[in-house]
Structure formats: structure tokens, C-alpha cells
């Protein structure tokens, strides 16, 4: 047992190391920060929500940094695309925070965050699942996949060459993706990888191989910014909790990156899709089934 100074609760240190490790593996495999899994898990073991969200951001920085280094060595990070997404992401995060505060003033921010999760996880998970199944079926039947689709996205101005991704597209779609992901990330309190990865694959047409590294690269900065914001305004970053989670997380991320590199892109996507759908289902059930305790206790002003 270890006492967390900011969260003011005592928890089992090995449980936290294990959680960090498990989520770290997923983070390295799929290029998602893992926040959408870890944050609910932290609530579950009794960490106050505000502390869980803020500390999770700090932990994501560590596991993403560890993951991105592994990807940099393998040259699977599109830095140029990453920077474009990041610019959009920071603008989006700023917008997201003001949306969040507006919802908070309406008093139903909890519900909206959960509905956001269910909606986005459901749509993204479902689409990815169907698409990856089709892709697997196609590769099995031996038909070549149509690699590049030319759609309206390729008709936009301000074209830029993204060599690592092998793309020559306008900067507008990646910027918009960045802004949207930033908004959602701020509202939902996560890095946003699970939205960005599919967006990069399906909207921008980036190769799956570089998507993971690029998404991790962008996530480092967005979550780093979030950590500082939480630490200076809400004082809810728990360093002891963060260190325990990230020791497990960084080790897990390294293993995850290795596993991810060995799996086929379709397999990777279908696994991520299943995981997203499971979390979505759990959250939806929580909203639909009558809770055993109808009342909840919170600090004043908190949620």
C-alpha cells in the first residue's frame, strides 16, 4: 500500500504498476495514449476523478515519449504531418477547454463526457471493425487492395508533400483533424489517439505504419500542455501516482511497440476496434443499467 499525497488515498503500488504496464502495452501497439482505458480504471480503484484525469495526462506523456523514440528509430514518424496536426491540436484544445467550461456551467458535464465517449467510441470502433474485416477478407481472396482513393480531399488548395507518409495533399484536412481531435481530447480528458489514428488512416489516407508514431508524437505535446494546465489551475496532478503508472507504462510501451511491429496492419486495426467497442459497451451499459447507488458525493464545484 502506498499513500498518494494529492489524491489523499492509499492504494496498492503493484496494482498501479500492473495497470500502467497493461495500458502501456496497448499504447505502444496502437499508438493510443491509453487514457480512454486508464482514466475509467483509475476511477474504479478509487482515485478522485479530477486527480485521475490530470495525472493520466502526465502518464501519457511518459508512455508516448517512450513509444515515439522507438518509432523514431524505425523511422515511422511523419514529423511534418505531426507538426501540422499539433498546430491544429493546440488550437482545438484551447477551444475544447472553453466548451468544457461552458458545459460545466450547465451542470451536466459528466453526462456529456460519457455520451461523447459512447458516441465516438461506438462509431469509430464499428467502422474500423467492419473495414478491417473487409480488408482481411480481401487479402485472403487474393485481390489487391485499392491503395489510393482520390476524393474531394485531394482537390483542396495549399498542397504539401509529406514524404514519410508518401502523400501529397492539402494541409487543410490535417489541420481540421487536429482541431477536432484537440476539442474532443479536451472535453473527454484524453490524448485523443483513438480518434486520431482512425482519422489519419481513413480521412487522410496515411499508411498504418506511420500513423502510430505520428499520433504518439502529437499526443506528447497535447498531453504535456494539459498536464501543466491541470497542475497550475486545479493542483490535481499526483506525482507519486504518475511515477507508479509511468514506470509500468514506459516498460509496457516498449513491449507494445515490438508486438505492434510484428502484427499485420489489418490485425492491429481489428484488435484496436474490438478494444474500443468493449470500452464503449461498458460505458453504454453504465448509462442504461440502474446503478446500485443512486447518490454520489463530490467536492463542491468538482464533477
Amino acid at each position: 500500500m502506498i499513500y498518494l499525497p494529492i489524491a489523499e488515498v492509499s492504494v496498492n503500488a503493484f496494482l498501479l504498476l500492473g495497470l500502467g504496464g497493461a495500458v502501456g502495452v496497448l499504447s505502444g501497439m496502437f499508438g493510443v495514449g491509453g487514457g480512454f482505458l486508464m482514466t475509467p480504471l483509475l476511477f474504479f480503484i478509487g482515485i478522485p476523478p479530477a486527480v485521475a484525469v490530470a495525472t493520466e495526462a502526465n502518464q501519457i506523456v511518459a508512455s508516448s515519449f517512450s513509444g515515439v523514440l522507438a518509432h523514431l528509430r524505425r523511422k515511422t514518424v511523419d514529423l511534418k504531418m505531426g507538426v501540422v496536426l499539433l498546430i491544429g491540436g493546440l488550437v482545438g484544445a484551447a477551444l475544447g477547454v472553453s466548451v468544457f467550461n461552458y458545459l460545466k456551467s450547465l451542470g451536466q458535464v459528466d453526462l456529456l463526457v460519457k455520451l461523447c465517449y459512447v458516441l465516438f467510441l461506438g462509431i469509430i470502433g464499428g467502422l474500423m471493425f467492419v473495414e478491417s474485416l473487409n480488408a482481411i477478407r480481401k487479402t485472403k481472396s487474393g485481390k489487391p487492395q485499392p491503395r489510393k482513393k482520390h476524393n474531394w480531399i485531394h482537390g483542396l488548395p495549399f498542397k504539401m508533400r509529406f514524404r514519410t507518409s508518401g502523400l501529397y495533399i492539402s494541409v487543410i484536412p490535417p489541420l481540421i483533424v487536429g482541431v477536432l481531435v484537440g476539442i474532443l481530447a479536451a472535453i473527454m480528458g484524453v490524448g485523443g489517439g483513438f480518434i486520431m489514428v482512425p482519422a489519419m488512416i481513413y480521412l487522410l489516407g496515411m499508411p498504418t505504419k506511420v500513423v502510430v508514431g505520428t499520433s504518439l508524437f502529437q499526443i506528447i505535446f497535447v498531453t504535456g500542455f494539459t498536464t501543466l494546465l491541470h497542475a497550475t489551475t486545479n493542483y490535481t496532478v499526483d506525482m507519486v501516482l504518475a511515477v507508479l503508472l509511468l514506470v509500468g507504462g514506459v516498460v509496457g510501451a516498449q513491449f507494445g511497440t515490438v508486438i505492434g511491429a510484428r502484427l499485420k496492419a489489418e490485425q492491429l486495426r481489428i484488435l484496436l476496434a474490438i478494444m474500443v467497442l468493449v470500452v464503449c459497451g461498458k460505458l453504454a451499459l453504465d448509462l442504461l443499467i440502474q446503478p446500485s447507488e443512486l447518490f454520489s458525493v463530490g467536492a463542491v464545484g468538482g464533477h
Partner: protein, 252 residues
């Protein structure tokens, strides 16, 4: 008005014929990194100038109360098929921890009026101002708060937990959970006879973070930017360290 009540209270126990002499196993609880809850043992004696009055047995009530803070209690209900928070009660002050130990059944140790006057029982210790204007049934919300905190080990009413011998010596121990907040924990001992408080003794137990916990907590409050940057630096160093270590293992 308050002064009047106080005067009346003084009048009600004019003699202080029986007084408490108290000892604590510890008057300070140090929250260190491996803090896992604490058990406080209180032992005491009753000092008298006169022989023990015999008409009614003496009873002892011990309370320990954590710092009082405002909390919000929310209630969920079904709206359009999903369970959402529909209403909330802001409680002006509720103790973060509250434990009561008595030497007999609750009904035998204290009467309603003295409970109210000294705010002894758990519902009395929770103060909610203007509750009726916020929700229809504030009692449900207060009960829920007590239920949730009792389940977490934060509130406890232990009847017959004070061991009283010959109306003179008493001892009890109170369990404090791991999830304590810092502050002065007000400790009160009441001596009662036929439900009336005849003597009262107050002290406090100091619950403090120490060592690394203290340092981190202070840094996060006084120098939040430094604290945030330090958190980031640790995160990046850990990420880089793990990555480098892993590469070494794989290459060598």
C-alpha cells in the same frame, strides 16, 4: 442567542462534579508514503471530588471529527432511458471523518436535546443550510452521504465500544482509514447520566503528511508551475530511460 444557550448549558452542569482525565496512544497521525490507516487508542479516568452518584449509571461517548468541508451530493434518475444526475444538494459542512464510540446503546447514553446541543450524532454533525430550497427530500441526500461514507470507513457509530469499568476507568480504540485528509481532528469525550451531558472534555489529534508526501503537497500548492514542469520532466526522463534501457537489452 448563542451566548444564552451557552449560559444555559453551563447552568445545566453547574458542578462539574465528574471530570475526564484523558490519555491518547498518539496525539499525532503522520501520513507517510506507506500510510495504511491508523488506530487510535483513548484511555481515561473520571476524576471526582465526591462519592459516585448511584441513581443512574455513568456513560461515556467519544467522538473524533475530521475537518469540516462543503460537499455536493447528487442523485441520479432515469431520463430518456439513461441514468443521469438530476438534482444535487450542497451540504455546507460535513466532517471528512467522523467516528463515535459509546459505552452503551445509543438510546441509553444521550437524549435528543443534548445530542442537538452538542452536535454529537452523525446526522447532527452534518450541517446543511437551506436544504429544502434545493431539493424536495434533503433527508434522502443526507442519509445517502452518511451511507456512502460509512461504507468507505469514514463515518462510524460504534455502540458499546467504550469499555467502562466501575464508572471510573474507560478505554476505546478508533480505527482511522487510509484515505484521511489532513487537519486537526477534534476529539471530544462526553460523560452522560440518564441521557444528559454532565461533563465534556476536548482535545485534538493532529493529522499531517510528513516527509516526501509533505514536500510534494507543499510544492504542488505553492509552486504549481515548478511542480508541473517537474512532473513533465520525470515523465520524459522515464520515457527516455525506459526506451534507452530497452534498446540496450535488445542490442546486447
Amino acid at each position: 442567542m448563542r451566548r444564552l444557550v451557552f449560559l444555559l448549558a453551563l447552568f445545566a452542569m453547574p458542578l462539574q462534579a465528574e471530570e475526564v482525565v484523558l490519555g491518547l496512544s498518539q496525539d499525532q497521525v503522520s501520513i507517510s508514503t506507506n500510510f495504511d490507516g491508523s488506530e487510535i487508542t483513548l484511555y481515561g479516568a473520571i476524576k471526582r471530588e465526591a462519592p459516585i452518584p448511584t441513581e443512574e449509571p455513568l456513560q461515556v461517548v467519544v467522538t473524533i471529527s475530521g475537518p469540516k468541508e462543503p460537499v455536493t451530493v447528487r442523485r441520479k434518475d432515469r431520463r430518456l432511458g439513461i441514468w443521469v444526475n438530476v438534482d444535487a444538494l450542497s451540504v455546507s459542512a460535513a466532517p471528512s471523518f467522523y467516528a463515535i464510540a459509546t459505552s452503551a446503546d445509543w438510546g441509553d447514553v444521550i437524549n435528543e436535546a443534548d445530542d442537538l446541543r452538542h452536535t454529537i450524532s452523525i446526522p447532527r454533525a452534518i450541517r446543511s443550510v437551506g436544504a429544502w430550497s434545493q431539493v424536495d427530500e434533503p433527508r434522502d441526500f443526507i442519509n445517502a452521504l452518511i451511507r456512502i461514507r460509512t461504507d468507505n470507513g469514514l463515518y462510524a457509530l460504534k455502540e458499546n465500544a467504550v469499555d467502562l469499568r466501575d464508572s471510573t476507568l474507560f478505554t476505546t480504540s478508533i480505527q482511522m482509514p487510509a484515505n484521511l485528509t489532513e487537519g486537526d481532528y477534534a476529539t471530544r469525550i462526553f460523560l452522560t447520566r440518564s441521557g444528559k451531558v454532565i461533563s465534556k472534555y476536548e482535545t485534538s489529534i493532529d493529522v499531517r503528511k510528513v516527509g516526501l508526501e509533505r514536500w510534494l503537497f507543499n510544492l504542488s500548492r505553492k509552486q504549481p508551475l515548478v511542480y508541473g514542469l517537474l512532473s513533465l520532466a520525470i515523465a520524459i526522463a522515464a520515457g527516455w530511460g525506459a526506451s534507452a534501457a530497452f534498446r540496450l537489452i535488445r542490442s546486447g
